[in-house]
């Protein structure tokens, strides 16, 4: 059964159509890139999967069910913004995640924090922006979930942090889980993706495996992206 499925999914914000009858299916064990320019509907799709938004039409299913507290327990979400509680120490953030998420693996998280030299007694407020991003990533990736939704995980961080983030995603790979990475920085993530979905102005422009694109078109996904989206601007 696909872990994420969209059937005729539509979302309008008043007169603006953010997603237009999206049909989509993602199986466990795949690392999928959700690629598109800003405003293409990537974040809307992810918010719908989390239940932060309600569809205008159609449906979105997580493991066969509509987004609900039950599905949120198996979905690990990395938002684009820093969603940490500023007065908490790293240890307290770990306590928080452990409290609310049954699939949280505390030892793994503590190990990663130690690896990065982030002291458990440091408060989120005291951390630099880069450290907060890493903290958030560690919390999200330390959950043994069935679906990981990462919204722009590498935008706005330095190259070393970028490497660390991609490395963490690979190391945490679980053949029973799917990872959806929404980004507009394609060249950096291409090597770790199984499949890609091109989203443009709320519609799916392409859904294919990376291997197929390279084999049949002899170009990288990054190059194809530039080509595909150039047409639409004319």
């Amino acid at each position: 059964m696909p872990i994420l499925e969209c059937r005729g999914l539509t979302k309008n914000y008043g007169p603006v159509c953010a997603l237009d009858h999206i049909d989509l299916s993602i199986e466990p064990g795949r690392i999928v890139g959700l690629l598109g320019p800003n405003g293409s509907g990537k974040t809307t799709l992810i918010k719908l999967a989390n239940g932060l938004l309600q569809p205008t039409q159609g449906e979105i299913l997580i493991g066969g069910e509509a987004p609900a507290p039950k599905t949120r327990a198996i979905v690990s979400y990395l938002p684009e913004r820093i969603a940490l509680i500023d007065w908490m120490t790293a240890r307290q953030q770990l306590d928080f995640f452990q409290d609310f998420y049954a699939d949280f693996q505390r030892e793994a998280a503590e190990h990663m924090l130690a690896q990065l030299g982030i002291p458990l007694t440091q408060t989120v407020k005291q951390m630099s922006k880069g450290t907060r991003e890493k903290m958030q990533l560690i919390l999200v990736m330390s959950r043994k979930s069935q679906l990981y939704l990462l919204d722009e995980p590498i935008g706005g961080v330095d190259p070393a942090t970028r490497d660390y983030i991609l490395h963490t995603i690979i190391s945490n790979y679980n053949p029973e889980a799917a990872v959806v990475i929404s980004t507009h920085l394609i060249a950096d993530v291409e090597n770790i993706l199984d499949d890609v979905i091109f989203l443009n102005r709320g519609k799916i422009a392409l859904h294919s495996s990376v291997d197929e694109i390279r084999e049949t078109r002899g170009m990288s996904v990054d190059a194809l992206f530039r080509e595909v989206f150039k047409c639409w601007e004319n």
Binding site: N50, Q54, P69, P79, R81, D99, F100
Partner: protein, 269 residues
């Protein structure tokens, strides 16, 4: 899940409320001690009087401030935890919006009641004379028995009705802020401004309803009631329960509005 949310809510707010309580208690003790010092000093020291007066003044100010602080904390907490980036964390927890709302409502009411209790205790510390506790107890007991015998009013029931009304009013008070904040936040621009506008709009509608209710009730003929004690009692109970039901209805409407906004129009940036 609600338990966990409430636990977290307490942790987040206690770090501000408990220091406040400690300050109030400390001020109460200082004021009391300075009163003793003033009493026991032989000379007519002007300085001591001034210090004592100042402390007393500060103490009264702190009591008022504690209430304002509790209210402001409740509002800011709701906004910061649910409407800013922290909302991304809270709304994606494996819980529904009801859990998020009730945990905040319950904990806020508990802090309000706690603040009143702490303030009363602090006053007690400042003005306590020996035997006062006994006097108060006896006074309350007399009041109780008077209510029961003279007005055929069930004192205990009335007290419970009063408590229920107070708690409901506190819940409604919180929702009077939660609802406009949720509504204002559903817009893309001028969120803050719109929240304030909706706050006053809700207050306005509430006042209109109060006045309408008041005027419709003033037509009720009370003449037959004054002489008959049991009828009077049922009138009082009836009034109490009408108010309770009224508050509950207002609360339900505001709660529904808040829930609806957060469920369908959550506009986290």
């Amino acid at each position: 899940m609600l338990g966990k949310l409430m636990k977290h809510e307490f942790r987040a707010t206690a770090r501000l409320m408990l220091p406040l309580y400690i300050v109030i208690a400390a001020l109460a003790v200082f004021t009391r001690v300075s009163g003793w010092v003033l009493e026991s000093s032989k000379q007519n020291s002007g300085l001591l009087s001034v210090v004592n007066g100042l402390l007393l003044f500060l103490f009264v100010v702190s009591l008022i401030a504690s209430v304002i602080f509790a209210v402001v904390l409740m509002v800011v907490r709701f906004y910061k935890n649910l409407m800013t980036d922290q909302g991304y964390l809270m709304f994606t927890l494996p819980t529904d919006i009801h859990g998020l709302l009730w945990s905040k409502l319950f904990v806020s009411v508990i802090w309000f009641l706690g603040t009143i209790l702490v303030d009363l205790l602090a006053c007690f510390i400042v003005v306590y004379q020996s035997g006062m506790a006994l006097d108060i107890y006896n006074g309350l007991r007399d009041l109780f028995s008077q209510l029961t015998s003279y007005y055929a009013l069930n004192g205990a029931a009335f007290l419970l009705e009063l408590l229920l009304f107070v708690v409901l009013s506190m819940l409604v008070g919180c929702l009077c802020f939660y609802a406009p904040i949720s509504i204002g936040n559903s817009f893309s621009n001028h969120k803050g401004l719109l929240s304030v506008v909706f706050f006053f709009a809700i207050q306005f509608v509430g006042k209109i309803l109060n006045i309408a209710g008041f005027f419709s009730l003033s037509d009720v003929n009370l003449n037959g009631f004054y002489n008959d004690a049991s009828k009077m009692a049922s009138l009082v109970h009836g009034a109490a329960w009408s108010l309770i039901v009224y508050q509950a209805a207002i609360g339900a409407i505001l709660y529904f509005l808040t829930w609806l906004m957060l469920r369908r129009h959550l506009n986290l940036q």
